[in-house]
Symmetry: C2
Subunit: 192 residues, 2 copies
DNA sequence: AGCTTTGATGACAGCAACTGACATCAACAG
DNA sequence: CTGTTGATGTCAGTTGCTGTCATCAAAGCT
């Protein structure tokens, strides 16, 4: 066997999620996480850029990758909003059988403002990537950015409904419903 | 005159904006800001919760207040999407004659990730407030949240266009155009 | 006037997040 | 067998941020 126990990164992530859950994010120091993982504080920062990243740096492929790829690979004739729907389907796939884990993680995140910031950054980055993918399909501005933002909005709302206590339905239909609700609402203006 | 120079808070904000612009956000220490304002570091943190807040804590009424108020006060028969349009108009008013300042501020913010996080939090808070206002109008979920998210998306895109270099048009028409573009895009799906 | 209270600031000590520089030593390549 | 590599340890330092107590002009009270 090696000089050190294997999977230092994974041990750090596990220790962090445990401690954040047990005592809260702010009440947990990086030194404690490292100690529980049998490592030093310095090593923590070699694997994760900061104290929050340990909750967000999962193994690839990322949600963003799946979402973007589905849009890039959509048939050329697909309208932007239908490409978005395909992306939402692809995103939903990666959460199948993960609702329990997602709920625990979300509980930690919603309990702390700093972690919510990190999540917002992730979504903003996703929006930028979606807009890029749409522009690559020939969608002009500002439609590309707006479609991307709308996609993130639908994902956010759909995800919230999916992790809500008691919710039983799968993610994909919830995403579809949310997208339809957005369509209905934006069509609701009085005609000029 | 008093024991101290007046308007400590304003002097700190001025010194911070200058230094962030001159040398960058991360390269500026709170001690330097305080020194330029003729105060101590400890006093900085009595006026602003953290190093970022100095860029975001303007005097009321806030953008969010105006936006929400317009939605709350819209005639009862107004559809959600039209209430949103009224809110965007109200928000646009507070930026009249402020484009130069907004551009400088935005340059500082877009140059630094931490500051962008803070801005995202502001927008998320706005989204929550808009959703509350819409629910108070009787809009059910998930339509309320989706309309609110759409409103923030339109504001983001419209604002970006408004501060873009060379842009001459006022904010209100840009917001209207962006809202119309979102409507067009969400109406673009193939009928089932 | 004399006394008390108040509120903004200073001074100082301390914690924890994060960084840079260098040392260590099993594993591996040759 | 030797030199290199790469993950980790060690240590010192900077900086954002907080708690605590002292200071002292201004404003109010008697």
């Amino acid at each position: 066997m090696g000089r050190w126990e294997p999977d230092a990164r994974g041990r750090l992530a596990k220790a962090a999620l445990e401690l954040y859950g047990e005592r809260g994010y702010e009440q947990t120091t990086v030194a404690e996480i490292a100690r529980r993982a049998g490592l030093t504080e310095r090593t923590f920062f070699r694997h994760y850029a900061d104290k929050r990243e340990v909750l967000f740096g999962g193994p690839p492929p990322s949600l963003q990758d799946l979402f973007v790829r589905a849009i890039v690979e959509a048939p050329p004739a697909t309208t932007p909003i239908d490409a978005l729907a395909l992306g939402l389907d692809a995103a939903s796939e990666m959460f199948v059988d993960r609702r329990d884990f997602a709920r625990k993680r979300q509980a930690v995140i919603t309990a702390n403002a700093e972690l919510q910031e990190r999540e917002l950054i992730k979504l903003a980055s996703m929006s930028a990537a979606l807009a890029d993918a749409l522009r690559a399909r020939g969608v002009p501005e500002p439609a590309a950015s707006l479609t991307a933002e709308a996609g993130v909005a639908v994902f956010k709302v759909g995800f919230e409904r999916w992790v809500a206590p008691g919710e039983q339905r799968e993610m994909a239909p919830l995403m579809r419903e949310s997208l339809d609700a957005l369509k209905a609402v934006t069509a609701g203006g009085q005609a000029p």
